[in-house]
């Protein structure tokens, strides 16, 4: 059985059943996944949504009439594959809580203020080198009901399309040195320490803009297509 994208790469992912994350207990498959070869259906993927991305959709601080409350930040980086090649023309969508740790969502009842000038969603398309950039507000930590005194580390959700449907990725970007890391079952659902570290952005002083915004770098690494597709036998 052969694959075009290495399945070995998938070892970086969380274990589907991570009992400390209680919601996974009734939603993770109990039966083993069935291995299959990639066919054209898996090796192709959508190039879609790009045409409706407008200038400014990657700046979450200018979507409303006033300035959002909180710490303005720049988040940028490259979408690459695991061989280091930039992934151009990749749609990157983000969503996040506001600076108080509150989502614009009817089911988020955390008693923290909503910000009329921040709704927390943005999107952009990576350039020819795979580079992307957002301006946003640093999200706050927020409590959730998973366990006693459970708080999510500050994070930004990201959704990325690569070159194919098997490189599809939804992940969360975290901030360096967050004291909540040891206590968060979602962050710790990734067993490998080095893989967990890849979800943590780096403070980027060089691209921090004086008098305006701190900058964080977050490179998103997708599975890499084998340079020479293997013959299938």
């Amino acid at each position: 059985m052969t694959f075009i994208y290495p399945t070995e790469s998938n070892k970086a992912h969380p274990l589907p059943l991570s009992p400390d994350y209680k919601s996974s207990i009734k939603r993770a498959p109990n039966k083993p996944l069935i291995p299959m070869r990639h066919t054209l259906s898996e090796l192709t993927g959508p190039v879609y949504g790009h045409e409706t991305v407008r200038e400014g959709d990657n700046d979450l601080t200018t979507q409303h009439s006033g300035e959002p409350i909180g710490e303005r930040i720049i988040v940028h980086g490259h979408v690459r594959d695991e061989d280091g090649r930039g992934v151009p023309n990749s749609l990157v969508e983000i969503w996040q809580a506001n600076s108080c740790g509150r989502y614009v969502h009817v089911r988020d009842q955390h008693p923290a203020p909503l910000d009329p000038n921040f709704t927390g969603a943005g999107r952009t398309v990576s350039d020819a080198a795979g580079y992307y950039r957002f301006v946003t507000i640093k999200p706050g930590a927020y409590p959730w009901g998973n366990h006693h005194n459970a708080w999510r580390p500050a994070h930004i959700h990201l959704s990325v399309f690569g070159h194919s449907f098997v490189t599809r990725l939804v992940t969360q970007m975290y901030f360096p040195n967050d004291p909540l890391f040891p206590f968060d079952p979602i962050f710790n659902s990734v067993p490998d320490e080095k893989a967990r570290a890849r979800m943590v952005s780096s403070f980027d002083l060089e691209n921090t803009q004086p008098e305006w915004a701190l900058c964080y770098r977050f490179d998103i690494v997708l599975r890499g297509k084998n340079a020479t597709p293997m013959e299938n036998h």
Binding site: R27, T39, P46, A121, V170, T171, Q172, V221
Partner: protein
């Protein structure tokens, strides 16, 4: 975490969480959500127009109101709207991708066309199918499955269905309703009739 523990693997997946709707799925807070709908239909598309409907259940048989489904499929001629597929696309605006969130009762639906036959890596025909990715709260990584169609004779020879134990193939087969072009397929994340998910 310091840079010196970083290395070259891929970025791990994390759950979409419960609060993705305003950022990703149709009818959220943002005008741009019209970028993604639960329809692949375009004015010039050829082929049989169909609707796929179903519900999503967890391991307790309870409906799941906060998953997002994405479909990816070939056109009626079995061709993908992807630059890697070099065959000419007769339906220039057909994109083959759609996204849907479940509602409070766990319902999802897609309006699309019946896809054509796509070859497998050996060049053998695959039965018409749609690739489906399932994202949700409680799901740390999205799951891949396929939608096949109950009225396709080619299912019997499909190389991917052949990998699936016979008694589980029904979990991948959308059943056509008697009097209209609607196929029903429920997804079960867990349990006795758990949907088949693929490792790829």
């Amino acid at each position: 975490m310091q840079d010196n523990v970083k290395d070259s693997g891929i970025t791990p997946s994390q759950t979409v969480g419960p609060f993705f709707k305003y950022g990703l799925t149709p009818n959220g807070e943002y005008a741009w959500n019209d970028a993604f709908t639960n329809s692949t239909l375009t004015p010039d598309v050829s082929g049989d127009r169909i609707r796929i409907e179903g519900r999503v259940f967890d391991g307790d048989g309870v409906v799941v109101p906060d998953v997002m489904l994405e479909i990816w499929q070939a056109d009626a001629q079995g061709r993908f709207a992807d630059p890697q597929d070099k065959r000419a696309l007769p339906n220039a605006s057909f994109r083959g991708f759609a996204r849907c969130g479940t509602d409070k009762d766990g319902n999802y639906s897609f309006d699309t066309i019946k896809p054509g036959v796509v070859p497998d890596p050996d060049g053998k025909p695959q039965a018409p199918h749609i690739v489906l990715a399932v994202f949700g709260r409680g799901m740390l990584r999205h799951l891949y499955t396929r939608i096949y169609f109950s009225d396709e004779a080619g299912n019997a020879d499909d190389p991917v269905l052949a990998l699936v134990p016979a008694d589980r193939r029904a979990t991948l087969t959308a059943v056509r309703e008697a009097d209209r072009a609607v196929y029903r397929l429920d997804l079960r994340l867990q349990g006795d009739h758990e949907t088949v998910f693929f490792d790829m």
